[in-house]
């Protein structure tokens, strides 16, 4: 079974699919992994045939036209669109039908880096890039700094501002410019095995202090069980946790100045909190940043009782892996650092920019705006196999969306928690070199998992690695804090 990993992508649009080492060259591998995934989860709904099709044909963008083209009229303006969300072709077909003067052709180069590498190359080469492409929130600044994305305010993007949750709009904006349309996201919640927790008389912790106490209680009562797993190598997840703790280490608002602070007071407080739990062995440290099926297996076989910072897409994502515990999983508001507060954070999600290479930026922008900001598009994208969790407010407040039920969560309605969390997220500023950071983290944080190094020490190492990379790339780096 495919797990939450670099290769999980083709099933979910929301989280980083491909970090560090995956490239188009390994398309064959992802195809194999996908076949395995689909074999194991045909009943789960997450991996519908469409995902096999999209994931398996990743290496060459031009080899995998999935929608558009043939059905358009010959006079229509041609728009090329790259994305890897499963089932995206349904939305493209609907757009082409309702907009006969525009003809969007969808191509799927593969998830994450499989797309970013050929995309960057085409942008540098000056031709061959699509008009619109799927770019994750954390990668958007890397394209902004290359000055390759169009300011969409020229094409009326501002009128959509209030249709989206404010943090999402801020993450696609830089000053008065809007560089992409936000689409899906992954607001975080406390996702837990209610049966296992109840067995030890534990309730979803309101604060992280309570979380630490419960972690100790559970592990003492059952030495084979842990309240949670801490995978430091999974940088996207780690940054989600840090954002919620007001310890996000980066600041960046365009240009050549970047702030990197992994060693400030908040960061060190965050590190020592988790290191204490790691050192006392009351939580597990299974590597979650690669393709190991272990983390999901542990959730299902009672080794891990909760996923304390999981995302809105957790129910549909974990569903195929939940065999013994199907029906037992519930969502609750995240534990808080300050009692009584309600702070969430985002884990994953994508945006849709228009590139300067586009010969038809107005039509491309019209498509990006329709895809992210229209009820017609969301009617399609909220359903399987896409199952995107929106930043689009109309859907977030839709009672039928809030009350969606998933077999993994029994009769509960997890979206009640996640839609509430969606508006409690503080925007963060992603550095314009996230690919490097994600890849470096895989190596730097490994000794934390094996117990050879503390999280504090790894933060210090990572700080110096990130600063020297940023400086080598010509940035002025501030490390204050």
């Amino acid at each position: 079974m495919l797990s939450r990993s670099r290769l999980r992508g083709p099933r979910r649009a929301t989280k980083r699919q491909v970090t560090g080492r995956v490239t188009a060259g390994l398309a064959g591998l992802s195809a194999v992994a996908l076949l395995a995934a689909c074999g194991g989860s045909s009943s789960g709904g997450g991996a519908a045939p469409a995902s096999t099709k999209t994931g398996g044909s990743s290496a060459s963008p031009s080899a995998s036209v999935l929608a558009g083209g043939a059905s358009c009229s010959s006079s229509a303006t041609k728009i090329t669109f790259w994305a890897w969300v499963p089932g995206m072709s349904r939305a493209v077909t609907a757009f082409n039908k309702s907009h006969p003067s525009i003809c969007v052709t969808l191509e799927n180069p593969g998830a994450g880096l499989n797309e970013y590498t050929p995309l960057s190359n085409a942008l540098k080469a000056g031709s061959g890039a699509p008009d619109v492409a799927e770019i994750e929130f954390d990668e958007l600044p890397s394209f902004e700094i290359q000055k390759q994305v169009v300011d969409l305010t020229k094409y009326g993007a501002n009128k959509y501002q209030n249709d989206f949750v404010s943090w999402a709009w801020q993450e696609v904006s830089q000053g008065s410019a809007v560089y992409a349309m936000p689409s899906d996201a992954g607001p975080a919640g406390f996702y837990y095995n209610s049966k296992l927790m109840a067995q030890y008389h534990l309730t979803p912790p309101k604060t992280w202090a309570q979380f630490a106490t419960e972690a100790a209680t559970l592990h003492k009562a059952n030495p084979k069980s842990y309240l949670a797993n801490f995978s430091a190598t999974d940088l996207q997840w780690l940054l989600t946790a840090m954002a919620q703790a007001n310890a996000f280490p980066y600041t960046y608002s365009g240009g050549s100045k970047v702030g990197i602070n992994w060693t400030g007071a908040n960061q060190m407080k965050f590190a020592s909190y988790w290191q204490n739990l790691i050192s006392s062995h009351v939580i597990s440290t299974v590597n979650d940043a690669n393709n190991s099926p272990l983390p999901n297996q542990n959730l299902d076989n009672g080794v891990t009782a909760s996923s304390p910072l999981n995302s809105a897409w957790a129910p549909s994502y974990f569903q195929p892996d939940a065999k013994k515990t199907a029906g037992d999983w519930r969502a609750a508001t995240l534990p808080q650092w300050t009692a009584g507060a309600s702070v969430s954070a985002d884990w994953g999600g994508s945006t849709y920019p228009v590139f300067k290479q586009s010969a038809h930026p107005a039509q491309a922008a019209e498509f990006a705006e329709w895809l992210t900001g229209s009820p017609q598009a969301w009617t399609i994208l909220k359903t399987s196999p896409s199952e995107l969790f929106p930043t689009y407010k109309a859907l977030l407040s839709d009672p039928s969306f809030k009350s969606l039920k998933y077999p993994v969560s029994g009769s509960s309605e997890p979206n009640q928690v996640f839609t509430a969390a969606a508006s409690e997220i503080q925007p963060v500023q992603w550095p314009p070199f996230m690919t490097e950071a994600l890849n470096q983290a895989l190596t730097t944080f490994q000794p934390v998992l094996s117990g050879k190094e503390t999280l504090q020490k790894a933060f210090q190492t990572f700080q110096s690695q990130e600063v020297s990379y940023a400086k080598a790339q010509g940035f002025t780096v501030s490390t204050g804090g």
Binding site: R21, L29, A33, I145, N291, L294, F433, T435, E436, N439
Partner: protein
Amino acid sequence: MSDTALSAPREAAPRAAAPRRGGRGSAWSRRRDRRGLWFITPFMVAFGLFTVVPLLYAIYESLFTSRIIGGTVFSGFSNYSTVLTSGPFWGGFARVVIFGAIQIPIMLVIAFFFATVFDLGVARFGRLFRTIFFIPFAVPVVVAALMWGFLLEPTYGPITHLANVFGFSGTNFLSSGLLLPAIILIAIWEWTGYNSIILYTALKSVPRDVVEAAILDDTPLWKIVVKIKLPMVRPAIIMLIFLNSIGALQLFVEPEILSYQGGSITNTWTPVVDVYNTSIANAQYNLGAAMAVVIGLVIIVISVGSLLFRRRSGELA
């Protein structure tokens, strides 16, 4: 050559025949040269386009530095000084040297053993088993690594189960401590058959009369193998040592694939893994090019060393 020239009386021929023969000979050899050119052209074009040009381009690229802020500037040898002083890069080198130092001898001993068994004809169905042992070489390395990744997987992998049965509970072959031995195992599986076929061919070329003489002298079998056959296939063994060493320095696919299956592979695990991560994930193509050139130089040094060594020991003319 020409019948007339050969059949001409020797005494009469020299003066008349020499210029003629020379003339014909050089015309013939010119024609031969041109024909030969046609044969090597496809190779030379491919070699030029896909080896020489990229090599020169890599050297060219390695002299520049491309930054997110500030663009691309000529930076001379600064990438090289970064590579030469990079601890992780040489740490990766040390790892592949250890890998080769363990994997190559073990593999060659096993390969020589099987080659000898086949050569002696003591095993039944020798041809069948030769084919079977050769099969791993025909399996693409990616597929082999995936397969072994599943076998060694820490929760459900059958080999892990076996380790647990024998009392090594909690064994994780993909953890940082056991990963190198695991990859050595995979490489031995992949390459032993290929090496034993080469050694088998070398053993086949040992003159029969030498062996027969030894048999007539009542030489025990182990002595024939160790004292006669082994020294006579020494050139093949030395060639295999160098070829396998070059292969070891380029170790990439096995660690890369295992990293997707939970292997604790760092970004700089081997030099080529380092080149790949530096170029693709870190977008430092120039630095990656400099690393690749350095690895290439090390391999050239080994190759030239191998040629000199083999020439000195009289194995090459």
